[in-house]
Amino acid sequence: MPISLDAYLGVHAQALALQGKRTEVLATNLANADTPNYKARDVDFRAALAAAAAPGTAGAPLALSTTDAKHLGAEASGTGAAQLKYRVPLAPSLDGNTVDVQLEQAAFAENSVRYQATLTFLSQRFKGLLTAITGQ
């Protein structure tokens, strides 16, 4: 019985990669909270996850091109730049910086909780698979 591990893990594997990426973007915003003319950015999570779940569409991860039926397909992990968007500032400052530290902190906390939730989902999947394998 062939099992596709990717299909079994569902969307959680891609969600984990995206949330890891988002952590990086939010960390960048926080590190540049005092940099003049720095524009805060964030990942459009819905669009990015949709693109990651449906490869082949615009903005999807780069797929390895295959010229022979025996070639193995592969996909670059992570997301492209298409889903990175600039924040609309609530209170822009005079130095051109658009980082709202409180907002970024909230987003960072939210993202890390979501990341841990996704980890729990994945962990449960693996445990389920292990139960099936050991048959206990």
Binding site: L16, G20, K21, T23, E24, V25, L26, A27, T28, L30, A31, N32, A33, D34, T35, P36, N37, Y38, R41, A76, G78, G80, A81, L84, V101, Q105, F108, A109, S112, Y115, Q116, L119, L122, S123, F126, K127
Partner: protein, 141 residues
């Protein structure tokens, strides 16, 4: 897993903020260093921050997301020094004037609070990222 670049990014933030704290310390320490010559009096120093996209853009995917911060330079305030008439001061010039640095102590104190908060933010980012990475390494165990 969150990439290891976050440690570089948050680390650059820590380093930039500590440079800022250094300049605040220097400005506050020299707030009362008077001089008899307006040209040689201490001038308030402030760092200029700059986002660095290029250094992290070595890999194709990286150019879109991470940006470290670096101190592009330290500029001296061009505001005129405060003139004080104090003939008893041994440093006073022929007119009996001494020149005090153009350091605004209130501005320096707020700058210090801002730098310390930003520093704490970056430390928190590093801590959270470390916890997430450790949790990822334990996946499936």
């Amino acid at each position: 897993m969150p990439s290891f670049k976050i440690f570089d990014i948050a680390g650059s933030g820590l380093s930039a903020q500590s440079v800022r704290l250094n300049t605040v310390a220097s400005n506050l320490a020299n707030a009362d260093s008077v001089s008899g010559d307006p040209a040689s009096v201490y001038k308030a120093r402030h760092p200029v921050f700059q986002a660095v996209h290029a250094a992290l853009a070595a890999s194709a995917a990286a150019q879109s997301s991470g940006a470290a911060v670096r101190v592009a330079g330290i500029v001296e305030s061009q505001a005129a020094p405060t003139v004080r008439h104090d003939p008893s001061n041994p440093l006073a010039d022929a007119q009996g004037n001494v020149y005090a640095p153009n350091v605004n102590v209130i501005e320096e104190m707020t700058d210090m609070i801002s730098a310390s908060r930003s520093y704490q933010n970056n430390v928190e980012v590093m801590n959270t990222t470390k916890d997430l990475m450790l949790a990822t390494l334990k996946l499936g165990q």
